[in-house]
Amino acid sequence: MRARTLPLTRQRSGGGQPFARKALAVAAVVSLGTGLLAGCADDGGDDSSGGSSSGEGKTTITLGLFGTMGFKEAGLYAEYEKLNPDIKIQENVVERNENYYPALVNHLTTNSGLMDVQAIEVANIAEVVNTQADKFTDMSKVEGVKKDGWLPWKWEQATTKDGQTIGLGTDVGPMAICYRKDLFEKAGLPSEREEVGKLWAGDWNKFIATGEKYKEAAGKDSFFMDSPGGLLNAVLSSEKEKFYDASGEVVYKTNPAVRAAFDLTAEAAEKGLVQSQTQFQPAWDTTIANSKFATVACPPWMLGYIKGKSKPEAAGKWDVAVAPKSGNWGGSFLGVPKSGKNVEEAQKLVAWLTAPEQQAKLFKVQGSFPSAPAAYTSPEVTGATNEMTGDAPIGQIFSEAAKQIPVQVIGPKDQIIQQGLTDNGVILVTKGKSAEEAWETATKTIDNNLDK
């Protein structure tokens, strides 16, 4: 009955009011509704907001990036804006690729919300090439872009079977072994980088053998290597074929190289040569800070990470030696989606950002190693040294490694497979499971994750 009283009182308040109220209500509903619809609407025609031209006639190019890619930090945007006064560059950074990539896939599949330039991580490039190539422009057709400007395998990774290149490589991650000179000395091992490299040259088994010697002398105080995941990754990334064969079939279970890498890592774990840690976790960071492990597989960017986590007195105690076999860890691409508003300008910017001179500058500031061989002779690279590693000539060491990296077959689900082998596999060996049990758990998890 209470509902009835309301209209009565309302009615007494005056004749015209119900209409006004009704109009108000309708207006409210309509505005709510249109507000919702506007949210879904295609804003392609609306150029005034962040589109092709702002008030001063400048073109704004937007970049979607993840992590710290360093273009801004290296002053490259400012330089480009100086060279091209009618261009404004705006970057939009998502901290972690795990968050960035699903959003990118979402935007690509719905063809909306894309930036003019989108970065793609090497772990995802195969999937993007296989499933989303039609959403990207062909960068090989852009003026001034030449295929032989890049390391051949880097170029291949972003190119479809029919020859469309969806992104240009920014950096690569040639891998070396960073080691603690002081810990090696204490364990009675050579500490000079040439000799250390010779200890394990050409064979990961020799690396394990060195680890055993280290452990005998160093005891329980420290570990030879940081984590089973790091070791497995290093071994696998130096193989030509790992999880997929050249025809694109998943072969990780039958590929002897994968099983060998797994068993080698499991052996190292059983013998207590690797610390039971997961990389980039707080506990792992603390272990670095406490100087508890003697070696880490390290691409150039890892030096920066180590520096960030170490105590100041660790500076100069590290050094860099050649890895048993060269591999690649990391590296990104910049692609230009077709649906962007400034496709041509964006392509020009990407071609410029990934040119050898700019890659060399990026290396100097950010430690992202150039993917353009022409940069390897530039003074920024050849003269590069690093405080953490006692001024070792890291530019030369990593250039050498970069040239020896095999052309690796990468597949769309590499990340899922590797994560399964690491986090649901070899990590279990450090917790007392046998290698066989760990392999079972890993393959069962991976197969379930791959099954559509």
Partner: protein
């Protein structure tokens, strides 16, 4: 026609259009106008309420109902996140495979055990705290607000702190255990330690919330019940057992239902408890809950069809739990 209440509210003479003297120019025209106004008024009174409530239903249809139905549709297909419009009809395959899916049942079991380990102590502690807060205390508002502080903290922030506390090598909890001679426990490595640690985060976060609900209910219990109990010589503990608990029965039931629903959807805590393994919930999936498994299939492995089927299966399980809850509560009500 009791529902046509609007008719009863038709204009009172001289009410809706005051100031017009009766019998002026044409009473006929006036009547017509009045009739028209009255009809408008009727329409207004009848339909306006729908306009007022419509925003909720529009939003619900767009963001609740449509996704629900679409998820059901997707669960009958093989769909990948990389090409959501590319659907392959597979019928009930996504559902039938759940029966042989060890990972699903493992997750279901974990959800149940984590639910029990977290809910039961949580509600018991909450009851105890509420009982203490119900006494006359100095600065009682402070204590009550403090109870709610964990609830106001973000799950992510809280979990990250707990991850540090539960760390194997440098965690404070293992350090404290070490001080009394207990070997370090791999909180993230083993099944029960992992589940207990995850439950601890949940308990920490929700106990205060439930305590305040109990406290509110306790304050509604008439004081004379306690007085007469005291006159009968009942101790504090007896009063709690025979006065407080029976009076709180409906409230307890409410918190049990809410906590059960919450427990079946646990997601953030186990996801962040071992951030690197993320959605797999530990190296051997030892604390992977159903919510986590759903997320893993849909967003990590990009199998939208499978994830949708898991979502609907979870929905069905929740309905069953809801029915059981209702059954029990009816029994309880009948017995009281």
């Amino acid at each position: 026609m009791a529902t046509r209440s609007d008719i009863a509210a038709s204009p009172v003479k001289g009410g809706a259009a005051p100031g017009r003297a009766p019998g002026s120019r044409s009473a006929d025209k006036d009547d017509k106008r009045r009739a028209k106004l009255s009809r408008r008024w009727q329409r207004d009174a009848r339909w306006s309420p729908y306009a007022f409530v419509s925003p909720f239903f529009l939003l619900f249809a767009a963001f609740g109902l449509f996704p629900l139905i679409y998820t059901g549709w997707a669960s009958l297909h093989q769909v990948e996140l990389t090409a959501p419009t590319d659907m392959n009809w597979v019928g009930l395959k996504n559902y039938t495979r759940i029966f042989d899916d060890d990972f699903f049942w493992n997750a279901a079991q974990n959800t149940l055990t984590i639910g029990i380990i977290s809910t039961v102590p949580q509600l018991m502690i909450a009851m105890g705290i509420a009982h203490i807060l119900n006494y006359k205390l100095r600065a009682s508002t402070f204590w009550r607000v403090a109870m709610l502080a964990p609830y106001a903290t973000s799950i992510a922030a809280a979990t990250l702190v707990f991850v540090l506390l539960f760390g194997r090598d440098y965690g404070m909890i293992n350090w404290a255990l070490g001080a009394v001679g207990i070997d370090p426990i791999g909180w993230q490595d083993d099944k029960w330690p992992g589940q207990i640690a995850v439950s601890t985060i949940i308990i920490w976060r929700w106990t205060g919330y439930n305590a305040l609900i109990y406290l509110a209910a306790m304050q509604a219990i008439p004081q004379d019940l306690y007085e007469s109990a005291a006159l009968d010589g009942a101790s504090r503990w007896r009063q709690f057992l025979h006065v407080t608990l029976p009076s709180l029965r409906p409230t307890i039931l409410f918190t049990v239902v809410v906590s059960t629903i919450g427990a079946s959807q646990v997601f953030g805590e186990p996801l962040l408890f071992d951030p690197n393994k993320g959605a797999s919930g530990g190296a051997e999936h030892q604390f992977q809950t159903l919510g986590l498994y759903l997320y893993e299939q849909g967003w990590v492995n990009q199998h939208l069809g499978r994830a949708s089927a898991i979502a609907w299966t979870m929905f069905a399980i929740l309905i069953v739990i809801g029915l059981i809850n209702q059954l029990i509560s009816r029994r309880l009500r009948a017995s009281s």
